[in-house]
Amino acid sequence: MKTSARDLARKVQGIGEAKTFEVRSSELPTWCPGCGYFGIHHGMNDCIRKLGIPLHKVVTVSGIGCAGRYPFFTKTYGLHTVHGRAVPVATGVKLANPELTVYAVGGDGDGLAIGGGHLPHVCRRDVDINYVLFDNSIYGLTKGQPSPSSPQGMKSKASPMGTTDKPLNPTLLALSYGASFVARLFAGDKKMISDVLLEGTKHRGFALFHIYSTCVTFDKSYKTWENLKKWIHPLPETHDPTDLRQAFDRVLEDDWSVGVIFKREQPE
């Protein structure tokens, strides 16, 4: 018995009083039980709560796919737009009212396939939006097709002989597009998501959060929970996020380190 009944009661009461889940809407998330997106959902809610800004000053723009359902599950403003267009739509929202804190949310299909064309331009413009890319390397809502971040050789109903295309690396793309804030995270570690997201949100300019997650229903071989927990490790302490070259070296040789990869210096 790790937590005694008294600790349990105290913790549960603490969560209630601290309004830990104040950001969460009354809609029960429709993701499959066990989905990694629940971890991201927690991390983001926690970050938004810590921001301390009123929820009606936050807008979440989302694309199509499992990740696209995100706005329904938080009490902020939401805009569930068409497939792949979360980032351009979010740009419109931010420019219309810069006071708003704008999150763009989408999956790896939404962001790297149909929406892949928009990433370079939002980086170039350095629009102050926070783009959270849920990367589980599969199309979940259409039941298991490979996505641009699926590994070569991945077998699925749409690629019975294994995929032939090489996967994209969104973190590397963002660095090469000149994004001013790039972080990589893991859906199973809701605490790091909350902290890094907070830092990124406060960063003025475009911030990309590439979050590794898993699809419990359709991906039984690649990004399973077991594998992710084995592969993912924090960035070494020595990593200096302000040094772009070091960021490139880190990302080129190590796919699975998580934390703030790059952060352009900003005058206070």
Binding site: T30, V82, A113, Q145
Partner: protein, 591 residues
């Protein structure tokens, strides 16, 4: 023992294995020698949320449409099954789990809602599965086992089907599933002997054995494309068209073709045009939102006179709409979508057999009339399964229909030569002496850009003349009636026509004089034939699954008075009984 006509339903929450169970049920009934029509409706969510219902109608005669009344309900989630109880026939058989995880109050209990005429078959599905195979995941098969025992369906009908479906998943999964099924079957034999049902006993003389094959609309389309010598498939995942890409991904490579999952729908149709331009039969399949993205390139195909085959599996719209519900609301977009006067060929199959036929036909139409051909299906057709003899395509149906330029013009070849039929002989890149540039700009016969008034006028006429000429190769409307004047004429297209024909047959059996007209060529359409039919009807009724009455808008001018529209935007197929009610009111009003 005469006709067998039983409608069965499996209902559960997403992730309970409802669709898989429905599929196995259809396969087993087909192997049992019955005609089968099955249709799954499921939520957009994947697991642990939303209602899944698979409906199958099984009979000794060919099944035209699903009916309202349900004779067998297999519930894998009682809360989701509540809404299915009103559709139960008075003497229905209801199967449900007698040991759910939690106790249920009266208001939430399925057994409390069922009428006394129905017979309950409550048994511990999850426990039996867990006891037999160590996990309750196989409880949907345990449910099928109980059903098979209660209706005395031979066990090995199901075992063969289960073996076929799970063979690829390895012996451990296959073995667990067979054990789960047998647990239910054994329980049924032992406990249901006091209330066995014989409504599924095949009458003597029925041909059993699998010479029929189960095909869904999607599989028929994939098969049609394969048989027609498809070389390149470019696609992007979108419900409900994805299964076509998945079918071809497994089979096209063996025939020397390739399936490429592109990054979006624009790149997909672009690649199709590039493919056809360079002489390879190419195709893409999508749904409403994807089709909208393809519009510009489709009109480019019209202007540049490049063949293309685009299948649009319509779903509830507009925009993201109802991804897993059915609708016929893209007709306007298919016929008129895109800038400029851009005529193109639009055809719409009405059942699984025609899904195959129209897919095969679309390649020759595209090549002969050098135009994008849009095949309109919808969710109720793509996901419907019917068992029928495997359709075949003859040599002539798949031969290359492109008109190649004559040797005499080598070196002085005009790609867009003005001809009476409007069809200009088309050379394929790589042929010496026939180089040309196709373009989306208005152009003269040689293909070079030209915007003078006369040229635009004559080129536009050429393109319209060409498409109008396609009418002779397009399937003419088919009439189902006793001929002569009719009280009511029901005109329909796409997946709704099955229900129309069932309603018309029943109306005629009840002594009314009613006829049905099936339209499969949506554009260009056979105005003369339709007008003649309309004039013989005192009332014309057009039921379709869209709110604006899009087919009616296309053809109502052919009738000397207003047509009656039955326009439904419900996301579920129109039932024969609804059409029948409308026919009877019209017929009586007329009389």
């Amino acid at each position: 023992m005469g006709r067998v006509d039983v409608t069965m339903e499996v209902c559960g929450m997403a992730g309970d294995g409802t669709i898989a169970a429905g599929g196995l049920l259809n396969e087993a009934m087909s192997a049992g020698g019955f005609s089968v029509l099955g249709f799954d409706s499921y939520p957009a969510e994947i697991r642990g949320f939303g209602r899944c219902v698979t409906r199958s109608r099984v009979g000794t005669e060919r099944i035209l449409a699903l009916v309202d009344k349900t004779n067998v309900l297999i519930s894998l989630d009682d809360v989701q099954s509540h809404s299915r109880v009103p559709y139960l026939a008075w003497d229905a058989a209801v199967f449900f789990d007698s040991n759910p995880p939690v106790y249920v109050e009266e208001e939430m209990s399925l057994a409390a809602r069922v009428e006394p005429g129905a017979t309950l078959f409550a048994f511990p599905m999850a426990d039996l599965a867990a006891a037999a195979a160590g996990t309750m995941r196989g409880r949907n098969l345990t449910a099928l086992g109980g059903f098979a025992a209660a209706f005395s369906v031979p066990r090995d009908l199901f075992i063969e089907v289960i073996a076929k479906k799970f063979k690829a998943k390895g012996s451990r999964v296959l073995d667990a599933n067979i054990k789960s099924f047998d647990a239910g079957y054994a329980y049924g034999l032992e406990h249901f002997s006091d209330r066995l049902r014989d409504t599924l006993k095949p009458p003597p003389g029925i041909k059993t054995g699998p010479e029929k094959v189960m095909l869904s609309g999607n599989l028929a389309i994939g098969r049609g494309a394969l048989d027609a010598g498809l070389k390149l498939y470019f696609g992007y995942p979108i419900t409900p068209a994805t299964p076509i890409m998945e079918y071809l991904a497994a089979r096209l490579p063996e025939k020397g073709g390739r399936v490429v999952q592109m990054e979006d729908e624009i790149s997909s149709v672009g690649a199709v045009l590039g493919g056809f331009y360079a002489g390879a039969r190419s195709m893409t399949a999508t749904s409403g939102p994807g089709f909208a993205l393809m519009t510009e390139l489709i009109t480019h195909g019209v202007m540049a006179e490049i063949p293309a085959v685009i299948l649009n599996a319509q779903r509830g719209g507009p925009s993201t709409g109802l991804p897993t519900k059915t609708e016929q609301s893209d007709l306007h977009a298919a016929v008129f979508g895109g800038p400029g006067d851009s005529p193109r060929i639009v055809i719409a199959p009405t059942d699984v057999e025609e899904c195959y036929r129209h897919t095969v036909m679309s390649f020759q139409l595209a090549e002969k009339y050098q135009t994008p051909v849009i095949v309109l299906t919808d969710f109720y057709l793509d996901n419907r399964v019917e068992n029928l003899p495997m359709p075949q395509a003859t040599e002539s149906e798949i031969a290359d229909a492109n008109e190649y330029p004559d040797e005499s013009v080598r070196g002085a070849y005009k790609r867009y030569l003005m001809t009476d039929s409007g069809i200009s002989p088309r050379s394929i890149p790589g042929t010496e002496g026939f180089t040309f540039s196709a373009t989306g700009l208005e152009h003269v016969e040689k293909g070079t850009p030209n915007y003078t008034e006369d040229n635009h006028m004559s080129m536009t006429e050429k393109r319209h003349r060409k498409i109008a000429g396609a009418l002779e190769d397009l399937p003419a409307p088919v009439e189902y009636s006793r001929g002569g004047p009719l009280d009511v004429g029901v005109i329909g297209w796409g997946s709704t026509f099955g229900a129309i024909l069932e309603a018309v047959n029943i109306a005629n059996e009840r002594g009314l004089n009613v006829g049905a007209l099936k339209i499969t060529s949506i554009f260009p359409f056979h105005g003369g034939v339709i007008r003649a039919f309309m004039n013989r009807c005192s009332e014309v009724l057009i039921p379709e699954l869209n709110y604006e009455g899009q087919l009616a808008n296309l053809i109502d001018h052919l009738h000397h008075k207003d047509v009656v529209r039955l326009s439904r935007a419900t996301g579920v197929p129109i039932s024969p009984s609804l059409i029948l009610k409308e026919i009877e009111t019209l017929a009586l009003a007329g009389a």
